[in-house]
């Protein structure tokens, strides 16, 4: 359960929001407050007023995996293996266990061949897959993706979706500009000017957006 009460932070103004579904898509125009909402929900920023509770706890007490739009800004280590292993090493987990987990996560993400590479030699899409693997390696309770699919092609974006679906996270907060991706979520939030303009199942939210370009392209041709 994600519970937001009387939240005011920068442009955000969300009086009351309760999310109980697993896969939550956050959509809306650039500058509408999506990234700010994700930052507050993952504990990166403290709200100026109001409260956010994830699974009944403050975000700082929850294991959150974060994948940003620009992996370059979050990747810390120069070698892919070290980047993915980092959160397990910070927790002083035994080396053999860390090694097994890193290789298993790389396998799910389809990136075992990248493990020995330097991060600087990767393409943008490969960096996104590495950032996702690093976010998933310690089994986060909540997984947050901030337009992580913005710079990905169809095949890579599909792989990201699969890794996300297979994660054990109780909640996935996924901000995306792909409405076709958002249409596969359990619940959709449409943010504009810091407020939640529409919320509900994909059917409910997109029926309110049918006259806009925020309508899934596949729905446009199939329905």
């Amino acid at each position: 359960m994600i519970r937001i009460t009387d939240l005011r932070h920068r442009l955000l103004d969300i009086p009351d929001l309760t999310l109980s579904t697993r896969h939550i898509a956050v959509i809306g125009p650039n500058g509408g407050g999506k990234t700010t909402l994700l930052s507050v929900c993952s504990g990166i920023e403290e709200p100026e007023a109001g409260s956010v509770r994830l699974l009944g706890r403050p975000p700082s007490a929850v294991k959150v995996g974060w994948v940003g739009e620009f992996p370059d800004r979050t990747l810390l280590f120069s070698r892919v293996y070290d980047e993915i292993a980092s959160s397990l090493r910070f927790r002083h987990r035994p080396c053999p266990e860390t090694d097994r987990t890193v290789r298993a996560v790389a396998e799910v993400g389809g990136i075992p061949r990248l493990l020995g590479k330097k991060v600087s030699a990767l393409s943008g899409g490969e960096k996104a897959l590495v950032a996702l693997a690093a976010a998933c390696v310690d089994d986060p309770e909540v997984l947050v993706l901030d337009e992580a699919d913005s710079h990905l092609d169809a095949g890579t974006a599909e792989r990201v979706s699969r890794v996300v679906q297979e994660s054990k996270a109780a909640h996935i907060l996924w901000c995306t500009q792909s409405m076709d991706t958002a249409a596969t979520a359990d619940y959709v939030l449409f943010m504009e000017n810091g407020r939640v303009r529409h919320r509900g199942t994909p059917d409910e939210v997109f029926s309110a957006l049918e006259e806009t370009c925020f309508y899934p392209t596949m729905w446009r041709v199939c329905r």
């Binding site: 809306g28 125009p29 650039n30 500058g31 739009e69 030699a121 990767l122 393409s123 943008g124 899409g125 490969e126 996104a128 337009e147 913005s150 710079h151 990905l152 092609d153 169809a154 095949g155 890579t156 500009q177 792909s178 409405m179 076709d180 806009t212 370009c213 925020f214 392209t217 596949m218 446009r220 041709v221 199939c222």
Partner: protein, 232 residues
């Protein structure tokens, strides 16, 4: 006016890029997976990288411009108007075109992502180079801003425009389709004949083809029109 790729080979570590073909006047879309060599080919086309063997030969092309994937990398001035002047253009015209009137004194980094993209794209289009190479012009934009970017690209009447993109929802009208995968450039040919063989076609276009429709171009509206024609 044309750009010929003659047995182009460029290698970096285990990755090798190979390409041959001719980019004539009009709008070209080069699609393909990430890490396939799209940005490297954009740099080669713009003359910012030199091939190991083969050549990029420009015929009748007197000016070329590459618009980088991240528009903030183009910024060199502390104000929006100064930025426009640095392109050798008059701020009034560009700000009108980019729908940024009244923002001339702002810091370019205070513009939103969509606004900054509109600004750099408007500068590039109004500078009107013979060869315009756009590296992922739609990434990070919402669908409204993508639509505006498409409109600006379509408005460019002459010259060679080459778009490198993996965009799958909002696309401009194009004249030719290319694919770049595992470092190999493949020409699919002119639109609409190239559409059925386009492996990285967006889902709505593939759906239209499966239904037996024959879209005249690659936009969502083209797919819908083609579907309407067969569905009546």
């Amino acid at each position: 006016m044309r750009v010929d790729l003659e047995g182009l080979v460029f290698a970096r570590g285990p990755f090798t890029l190979r390409g041959s073909g001719t980019f004539g006047e009009g709008v070209h879309l080069v699609s393909g997976p990430v890490g396939g060599g799209k940005s490297t080919l954009a740099l080669l086309l713009a003359g910012l990288l030199r091939p190991e063997s083969g050549a990029v030969r420009r015929h009748g092309v007197s000016s070329a411009l590459l618009l980088l994937q991240f528009p903030e990398h183009h910024i060199t001035c502390p104000t929006v108007a100064g930025e426009v002047r640095s392109w050798g253009l008059a701020p009034e015209d560009v700000l009108l075109r980019a729908d940024l009137l009244g923002r001339g004194d702002d810091d370019p980094f205070h513009l939103s992502r969509g606004e900054l993209r509109r600004l750099t794209l408007a500068c590039a289009v109004m500078q009107n180079p013979d060869l315009l190479v756009l590296d992922e012009p739609f990434s990070s934009l919402d669908c409204v801003a993508k639509g505006e970017a498409c409109w600006m690209i379509e408005e460019r009447g002459a010259g060679i425009t080459i778009i490198f993109s993996h965009e799958r929802a909002v696309l401009p009208r194009v004249d030719a389709i290319w694919e770049m995968e595992d470092g190999v450039l493949t020409a699919r040919g002119s639109v609409p004949d190239a559409i059925p063989s386009w492996r990285h076609a967006p889902p709505y276009l593939r759906y239209a083809l499966r239904e037996g429709a024959r879209p005249e171009n690659i936009r969502l509206s083209d797919a819908r029109e083609a579907l309407c024609r067969i569905r009546g």
